[in-house]
């Protein structure tokens, strides 16, 4: 993150190399920002610009530029996010195929691109051409047979290991913050937490480069979550170019919310879904102004990606489906079953993954991150290669599962027994009995499903960029397709049963297994992340099928209900709790009857509150107090006897002010008295020079009385974004409640471990 120290605009070329000077107003790492102060600083800045704009034309133009800077930032974010997503897609496409072979005419082409101009492709083998050769053909000139298979297998594993090892080494050496999904940390950052370097330039570069490597290595992870992190890094980078955003942490978070929307938009090709995802999942405060700007950023990003055109046919995402066959009310029953499956799988995944991540955090497993990545990659590659459904990339698998079987498909999944006398046009093929290829595909899919369920638990959370949208959708799509084929065959062979009789006549096209795959994918994704509206919107923007909203909603609602019955947290909230971030969730309800006195510090038996007095402490006393305690701030009272509250002073600002005063002001020594009053009194002539610190005092700290119910206190913290709140009784200061105390109290009330809250 760029510090505020080098934002001056003057100075020579090498200024950016100097260490930034921390001035009053920046925050320390791993601390929470003061939302109210940021908001009031922004209002002050805006008022100053507005009043100056009436002075001259140049000032007026400057005020216009300031107003438009928000839109310029959104435009730049959209352009960069779209470009990076296009680069990632093209590079993943190429590197995934590199594990299996190489294009001899031009090495930068993937398999499909290599055979694009070839005339050798046949109906059954659409990707065959002489320019593309598998590794066995290249090295030992054999393409069939046991030795060719073993050589291909071996080289597949070697390439996967090579990519994964490179990725984890790059992450370890250059940008350790680039690992993981990024969404839990971004949620925490957007709620007001500071993690310096998390959205930095090196993190951006390394995350982009290593994301391509890990997706190409065949590991069971996706790139959607990391793309949100990449987009937020772009947002942070562009907002640091404009002082309106770089100096104000609250405004910067508006830009980051919009950048997150752009990230999801390019990941799924779903601009509206991206905005809703940012609103529902990622953002903390989402004013209406941000809604419109997020939409703009998401649209620009989607448009940029489309103009780069990574998939060659102006589609944004790999699994765009085009069928519009209707669905029937009786099919809601299997859709709801898929929703239940999605909810159960989500619960299972969250519990197992959190248990495994906790083990990684606390035992010796966490000391060998590189070895862990290599072992998991080796296991994934060894088990994935024999099954054709896991050998190819997960996006291609989902695309094939979503597709309807027309007459033009020749894959094993579409190996139905055709009626030779059939004369129907292309997209109205009736239900047919399954051929042997379909049965083979069914058990291969079942094995792939079990494998993916198990391996994703161990993959998500390793020290490489990893997302989990695509693996969840793959699990759901496989389950859905199997259910769909089952229902289709049931309808074909038993069309005289009462449930099928009304809507499925023989010779009609009733059941579309591809739709079941889509519904299954939505159910599993909803079960894991607990998204609601944004999930449905993303799914129908992905597929273009507005008529499928009702099945998608039914499955999403069912999976959320089933999953919520077992635990209230989605995967991202669970990871936030695992890391102990100070995230006060807006979705949690606090319904206990405790009062502010039960939570405030100091409790009975603890040391009394460390306070500063307004005119009776010397500089030495203040410095001793700061050195002996590690509180983030100190209340200022009138005197130790009458503990009437004046204001609140932050630790960091005290330290900086005292250091500045000692260096710059004459006469300030350790015996000087510190005054927080407006006008220090007249002193006798040979007393040391007083130190006036009224300007760093916050004169309006938030206070509640001791009988305020905790419900109200939690609400205040949540809605205003407070860091601490003072407790008074009849005007006298009693104690302090910090955000950490609130979180610990909530954890205690929910019977969780209150010591797991780590940050303030």
């Amino acid at each position: 993150m760029v510090n505020a120290g080098d934002m001056n605009g003057s100075g020579n070329l090498m200024d950016f190399l100097d260490e930034p000077f921390p001035d009053v107003g920046t925050y320390e790492d791993f601390h929470t920002i003061d939302w109210l102060r940021e908001k009031s600083r922004d209002t002050d800045r805006h008022r100053k610009i507005t009043s100056k704009s009436k002075e001259s034309i140049w000032e007026f133009i400057k005020s216009l530029l300031d107003a438009w800077s928000g839109w310029v930032v959104m435009l730049l974010i959209g352009l960069l996010a779209g470009t990076l997503a296009g680069v990632i897609d093209l590079a993943v496409d190429w590197m995934t195929d590199l594990k299996e072979g190489v294009c001899l005419s031009a090495f930068w082409y993937s398999h499909e691109q290599c055979c694009w101009t070839s005339n050798e492709t046949t109906f059954d083998d659409r990707d065959k051409c002489p320019q593309w050769q598998k590794w066995s053909e290249l090295l030992v000139s054999q393409s069939e047979g046991a030795s060719a298979y073993i050589l291909n297998y071996f080289l597949y594993i070697m390439w996967a290991l090579c990519f994964a090892f490179l990725a984890v080494s790059l992450v370890r050496v250059f940008a350790p913050y680039a690992c993981g999904s990024g969404i839990p940390e971004i949620k925490t950052i957007l709620s007001g937490f500071i993690i310096r370097g998390y959205l930095g330039k090196w993190t951006l570069l390394i995350k982009t480069v290593t994301l391509v490597l890990v997706v190409s290595s065949g590991l069971s992870l996706g790139k959607e979550g990391p793309l949100v992190h990449v987009a937020c890094c772009c947002g942070n980078f562009f907002s640091s170019l404009f002082s309106k955003y770089s100096k104000n942490e609250g405004k910067r978070r508006e830009v980051l919310s919009a950048a997150a929307a752009a990230g999801v938009s390019v990941a799924f090709g779903a601009p509206i879904g991206g905005v809703l995802f940012s609103l529902e999942e990622v953002s903390y405060y989402f004013p209406l102004k941000t809604l419109w700007r997020s939409f703009f950023a998401a649209l620009v990003a989607a448009f940029t990606l489309r103009s780069i055109n990574p998939f060659g046919n102006s589609r944004l995402v790999l699994f765009y489906v085009e069928y519009h066959t209707p669905w029937y009310m009786a099919e809601l029953f299997p859709f709801i079953l898929l929703g239940v499956f999605g909810g159960l799988w989500g619960t299972l995944f969250i519990r197992c993954n959190i248990a495994w991540c906790r083990r990684r955090k606390t035992t010796r497993l966490g000391k060998y991150p590189v070895l862990e990545v290599i072992v998991i990659t080796a296991i994934t590659a060894i088990i994935a290669y024999p099954n054709p459904y896991t050998r190819r990339s997960t996006s291609e698998l989902i695309s094939e599962l979503f597709n309807d079987c027309g007459a033009l498909e020749s894959s094993q999944l579409c190996d139905y027994i055709n009626d030779p006398n059939m004369t129907r046009p292309l997209d109205d093929i009736p239900d047919r009995p399954a051929g042997p290829g379909v049965y083979t595909a069914m058990w291969q899919l079942a094995l792939a499903l079990v494998f993916k369920i198990v391996i994703t638990i161990f993959t998500f959370g390793m020290k490489i960029p990893s997302g989990l949208f695509i693996p969840s959708m793959a699990v759901g799509a496989m389950a859905g397709r199997m259910v769909g084929i089952g229902v289709e065959q049931l309808a074909y062979h038993h069309h005289d049963w009462i449930i099928f009789r009304n809507w499925c006549r023989p010779g009609a096209d009733c059941v579309t297994p591809g739709l079941y795959a889509m519904v299954g994918a939505a159910a599993c994704l909803g079960g894991v992340t607990r998204m609601t509206v944004s999930l449905v919107v993303i799914m129908f923007e992905l597929t273009g099928g507005l008529e499928y909203i009702v099945p998608l909603m039914a499955a999403a609602v069912t999976s959320k209900w089933v999953a919520d019955a077992f635990g209230k947290e989605g995967i991202y909230e669970a990871h936030i709790h695992l890391n102990g971030y100070p995230f006060l969730d807006v979705k949690d309800e606090f319904t206990h009857r405790t009062l502010a006195t039960d939570v405030m510090r100091p409790r009975r038996g603890e040391a009394p509150l460390s306070v500063l007095t307004q005119d009776s402490m010397t500089v030495e006393d203040v410095e001793t107090l700061i050195k002996e305690t590690d509180y983030n701030g100190f209340p200022v009272v009138v005197s130790k006897d009458s503990e009437r509250l004046i204001g609140f002073a932050q630790r960091r600002e005290l330290i900086l002010a005292i250091k500045n005063a000692r260096q710059r002001q004459d006469g300030v020594v350790s015996n000087s008295i510190v005054y927080f009053t407006e006008d220090p009194p007249e002193l006798p002539p040979n007393s040391p020079h007083p130190l006036k610190l009224r300007r760093i005092l916050n004169l309006s700290p938030f206070t509640v009385t001791d009988h305020t119910p905790m419900e109200t206190v939690v609400d205040i913290f949540r809605k205003l974004g407070l860091r601490q709140c003072l407790v008074t009784r009849s005007g006298r200061l009693l104690g302090i409640i910090t955000k950490k105390d609130v979180l610990r109290h909530m954890a205690q009330m929910a019977n969780q471990d209150p010591e797991s809250i780590m940050f303030n």
């Binding site: 109906f123 350790p176 090196w202 780069i308």
Partner: protein, 191 residues
Amino acid sequence: MAACCGGWVRLCSLLVLAAVVSLGAAAKNSEDVRCKCICPPYKDHSGNIFNKNVSQKDCDCLHVVEPMPVPGPDVEAYCLRCECKYEERSSVTIKVTIIIYLSILGLLLLYMVYLTLVEPILKRRLFGHSQLIQSDEDIGDHQPFANAHDVLARSRSRANVLNKVEYAQQRWKLQVQEQRKSVFDRHVVLS
């Protein structure tokens, strides 16, 4: 606006990349468009795929499927089953993107090898025994950038460009070391 030149340089290079990519998308190769017709099996003819380099208005069965495998009266029935799609790609974009990606990856790998293997050897030769005494103190620190602290202390006095660059680099190394400690060692963030 900030004079963060590193940021502007990066912005300019990214804009150049974007311009090149979009230029590449505009400058179409004649090889980059095609009409692809997929025809399923019909009677005793097997399924076939036909590619031809025609414009979008000519992209249909009659123009693309040559030679027609079925005799005259069956052509219409055969063509009804075929599906023709117009596709275009940009080979220049693909080439530029892959080559730029591979060069960035190569540069990062070289820098990583330099930082982890070459630099400690060079520093050891330059500073000799005093370095060895200091490195005995933090014996567990076998990670890259382990000597960032003392280099920082040494170079704080001089103030020319090269030393400024080295100073910035050492500061960056310290930051990365802190991040690595939080993530990998203490498991405080991102576990």
